[in-house]
């Protein structure tokens, strides 16, 4: 996590933004990403936390990134430096979908 935060911070410095690195949490419960859509500033770290008794994973729609399977209570974090929309789904249960909107 600290490495990711440093990376996020570095990204912000490069961008010349004065904003602090932010974090947001997406909880996975009852086979749902909650909230299913989050809007964040560039450089924000998103942490997914699995609250279900079954593993889930985070896979970008075009498989640009993929988390390991998250067992109960496990987390996966990713920092989004660039503006854009990132759709993702659960690699085990692909009907579960979510979206990250990165907006300055």
């Amino acid at each position: 996590m600290s490495a990711l935060r440093l990376a996020a911070l570095a990204a912000l410095l490069v961008l010349g933004s004065g904003a602090r690195a932010e974090e947001t949490v997406v909880e996975i419960a009852n086979f749902t990403f909650n909230p299913p859509e989050v809007t964040i500033k560039p450089g924000t770290t998103v942490t997914w936390k699995n609250a279900d008794d079954i593993p889930h994973s985070i896979v970008e729609d075009a498989t640009k990134f993929r988390s390991k399977p998250l067992d109960t209570g496990e987390t996966f974090s990713m920092t989004f430096a660039d503006a854009g929309e990132i759709g993702y789904f659960c690699g085990l249960h692909p009907h579960m979908k979510g979206k990250i909107i990165v907006k300055p």
Binding site: P55, P69, G91, P94, H95
Partner: protein, 314 residues
Amino acid sequence: MSHDTHDKDGVSRRHALECMLWAGTGVLWGLSGGVPKSLGLLDGAAAATTSGFTFLQISDSHVGFDKPANPHALDTLKEAINRVKAMPQKPAFMLHTGDITHLSKATEFDNAAELIGSAGVAVHYVPGEHDIVDEGTGKAYLERYGKNTKGSGWYSFDDHGVHFIGLVNVANLKAGGLGSLGPDQLEWLEDDVKDLSASTPVVVFAHIPLWSVYPSWGWGTDDAAAALGYLKRFGSVTVLNGHIHQLMQKVEGNVTFHTARSTAFPQPAPGTAPSPGPMLVPAEKLRSLLGIRSVTYRQGEEALAITDTALADR
């Protein structure tokens, strides 16, 4: 224990006791002249000794699962395997319809292989989505079970005049979709069955159901219709699935669909819970919701005889 086919002579006390002994583990499948029927496990096994043969289906062992719904998933798998060992007639083989492991870990695969192998019966596997979440997204499974398979692990084989087809519908899944076979596998399937006589009994086994059980929980396969299209001309097609950890049947023309119990934990009936996650039941009730299946095939008969047996009768 569920009987699709009931003993027409009534149930003797001994028979009832035998059935109770078996209640709780799985399903015994019988191929009877082409169409599998689920029989009482011992019914099927006994009948098979005269003409035909019996194989078993086990599913969703989730080795490594330790959550409240069943903190000892390895123990219940062991109970299931003990029942296989205790069968008076050894089945021809077992089909494992996926989710062998919970998290595709090497230790989970090792524990499963050791325990399932102790039954001394050949096992034909297909993967579930839990078996391909290793770093190589399926490499660990294929290293163990991929010999003589194509793509993500599909294959076919013949036994006693029955054509068995193991399909993989858990790989390369797409956002928002259900289970998927994919174009390569469909092309292979079309070719695999094209020279078979229409009177050949066909048994298809895969992890996720090949019919739309409950799409909003992901219980279906997007391109199943294409696969079933290639099998339409056959007089007897039996489709065996796991994934939903409960018994369900459907007949559509010459095709009969059956989902199997898990040996690890039950899941709720469609739409009866906020999600399809593991269903917590009182500990004394757990084994009545887990089980194995036996299938008996008799030459000259249309239906396979299918027997689902729970690990305990209540």
